[in-house]
């Protein structure tokens, strides 16, 4: 009865087009008022505490901030140059380079559609120029772009750990190998296709160019190194690492790369300037420019963009915690779990059900919304069936990746259709073979938990637990 009321209210409100945060809040409060004795004052307190008691949640706005500083075309261009130097000379190398670029940019930006937009708009044009079929490039990049939520740091993983109280640091460790594996799988398939269809490759650029492009991409790469290094090494929590990365991203975007902000288009070295003079000029220029950032238009825009997304996400999370509270007090997951046990469903069958459920949901809702609704339900059931919560988290994230490739909500499809100017149908067809590869990957991740669990367990062992 309670369960029915909760879900009917929730889905009813969502169908009406209400913002998901409000739909979650209203259905939870409504159910509590109808079926339990909690006072409304205590519910209000719970809503506030959802925001003021969870230090890990703060990582979300900080990571969003750092990614909005670095999710720019300029950064994408540098990463692509480096990736092309790295693998461009292999057969099918240009497509492989776009996969590598997607992996790096995905880690920096943490967003899949942004990755597709940035890498896609540069790489597809490049691939067309040397004679790749457009649909091939479009399919590869639409799919590789989904890595944005799997390769850490990932905002979707933070949302999962907020919904289930699984350690975000461990999620970040768990996502790393699956992300690499998926990238490798894509590249192997590209290589085979390129051999078969004899697609062209670029000449080897030489070590000098590789080093210089690596140096120019280092600004973005360092972000990954800082974040993952400090989290894996156990010296900082994800929240602290996120704050450092936000400040670092600001510094790199405004003073390192100078793609935006008060020092835009000021070169590090003017022609004919000596090293000492350049250092001197740059240091006083940076000192002068620092206070100017407060009123700078670019910086303010990045700030507001990040604030908007953070507020939206955190507001949903706060309301989702009310929802999770109702689920726990009404023991809804517990009831479902006992039904599942009675049916004699084994863990692997349960995982199939999870996959089907999430794939279906992925067709209609945004990843973070799905996670916030489904994770509190699936998590206790999985625990009872002896499935590792980290493994479940990675399975859910990979499902969300696939959701970005399936209509009608598949964000990556929309972006790709926008970039290439082709119809949605064309993009869906281009992405279809790669979608099948993703399904194989999903199978691997679901039934070989060691892929996700190896790294977190290995790091635990290193630390001597």
């Amino acid at each position: 009865m309670t369960t029915a009321a909760l879900f009917i209210l929730l889905f009813g409100c969502m169908l009406l087009g209400m913002p998901i945060a409000l739909a979650l809040g209203l259905s939870s409060i409504g159910t509590i008022l109808m079926f339990s004795n909690d006072s409304i004052a205590s519910i209000s307190l719970k809503l506030f505490e959802a925001l003021s008691k969870h230090y890990t949640l703060l990582a979300i706005p900080f990571f969003i901030l750092s990614s909005s500083f670095l999710s720019t075309g300029g950064v994408a261009k540098r990463i692509i140059r480096f990736a092309t130097g790295l693998v461009g000379h292999i057969k099918g190398g240009v497509a492989m380079a776009s996969v590598v670029a997607c992996m790096i940019f995905a880690a920096v930006s943490g967003s899949s559609p942004a990755t597709v937009a940035a890498i896609g708009s540069i790489c597809i044009a490049g691939m067309l120029k040397i004679g790749y079929p457009e649909s091939f490039g479009a399919g590869v990049i639409t799919t590789a772009g989904t890595l944005g939520i799997l390769i850490p740091p990932s905002i979707v993983m933070l949302v999962y750990s907020a919904a289930t109280e699984v350690s975000a640091a461990r999620m970040f460790m768990a996502g790393f190998l699956p992300g690499l594996l998926m990238g490798l799988m894509l590249m192997v398939v590209i290589y085979i296709v390129a051999r078969y269809r004899s697609l062209p490759s670029l000449p080897w650029v030489g070590f000098k160019e590789l080093l210089s492009s690596g140096w120019s991409a280092l600004g973005g790469l360092m972000l990954i190194i800082i974040v993952l290094g400090s989290i894996y090494g156990g010296i900082a929590s994800p929240t602290e690492a996120a704050a450092v990365s936000a400040v670092y991203a600001f510094g790199i975007a405004c003073f390192g790369y100078r793609d935006m902000g008060p020092m835009k288009e000021q070169p590090w070295f003017k022609p004919g300037e000596s090293l000492g003079a350049a250092l001197f000029r740059n240091s006083w220029q940076i000192t002068l420019a620092l206070p100017k950032c407060i009123f700078d238009r670019d910086v303010n825009k990045v700030l507001m963009d990040a604030a908007k997304v953070s507020i939206m996400l955190l507001f949903i999370i706060a309301n989702a915690m009310l929802f999770a509270h109702v689920l726990t007090t009404e023991r809804i997951p517990h009831h479902i779990a006992s039904i599942i046990v009675e049916l004699g469903l084994s863990p692997w069958m349960f995982l199939i059900v999870v996959n089907l459920l999430l794939l279906a949901a992925g067709n209609f809702m945004e990843p973070s919304a799905i996670l916030l609704i489904m994770a509190p339900i699936l998590f206790p059931i999985a625990l009872q069936l002896g499935i590792d919560p980290i493994h479940l988290g990675i399975v859910m994230v990979v499902n969300m990746e696939i959701g970005m490739l399936t209509p009608p909500v598949g964000l990556n499809l929309f972006v790709m259709s926008g970039i290439t100017g082709n119809s949605m149908g064309w993009v869906i067809k281009a992405a279809l073979p790669w979608l099948c590869l993703m399904l194989v990957f999903l199978g691997l991740i679901t039934y070989i938990p060691q892929i996700s669990l190896f790294l977190p367990e290995y790091i635990d062992k290193l630390k001597g637990y």
């Binding site: 087009g17 913002p19 006072s39 999710s71 942004a114 708009s121 704050a243 450092v244 939206m312």
Partner: protein
């Protein structure tokens, strides 16, 4: 003009919350690694600032249409049907706001009566620190009323939701403008 100023003030406050939060945690990390010291009040302050940012900003995001939701179902209907469904959704949202406002009012009253203050920032009474729950939801209610008004008398048909795909296209525009594509 007035609306423009309100807009600027709202943006300023939100940005200030975000920047202060980030810098507080950053400085905390630097202090811990550089000097082996830490401010005990830093974490509580950061958490409250972020709560203020979210609750204060929720109504601003509603105005911008930055929340996410599903509009596929509503869009099946013709104009009038859309308006009716969105109107119902507005009223339901208002009921939610009212419930939280009512609850927050009782809660804040009780906390004020008890006279308790925050754990680490002892000079701030809890009811002041938590008052944003009331303020934020009042703002949200006002924005919902405005939205309801425009649904009934204006030309708004559905809730505006954030579209991450469309926002990502900004990067493409930027690249095109700089002639990189």
């Amino acid at each position: 003009m007035f609306l423009k100023i309100v807009n600027k003030i709202e943006e300023g406050i939100i940005a200030l919350f975000l920047v202060t939060c980030t810098l507080l945690v950053f400085v905390d990390v630097v202090m811990r690694f550089g000097f082996g010291k830490a401010w005990i009040w830093s974490q509580e302050l950061t958490l409250h600032l972020s709560a203020w940012m979210v609750l204060f900003g929720a109504s601003y995001c509603l105005k911008l249409g930055a929340h996410i939701g599903m509009d596929a179902f509503v869009k099946i209907f013709p104009s009038l049907g859309r308006k009716i469904l969105t109107g119902i959704a507005c009223v339901l949202s208002l009921i939610y706001c009212w419930l939280v406002i009512y609850g927050a009012w009782i809660y804040l009253g009780k906390v004020k009566m008890l006279g308790i203050s925050l754990e680490d920032l002892r000079f701030i009474p809890t009811w002041v620190a938590h008052s944003i729950l009331l303020i934020g939801f009042i703002f949200l209610g006002v924005r919902l009323l405005i939205l309801l008004w425009t649904v009934v008398f204006g030309d708004v048909e559905v809730f505006r939701h954030a579209d991450e795909a469309k926002e990502s296209m900004a990067i493409v525009e930027e690249l095109k403008k700089e002639g990189m594509v």
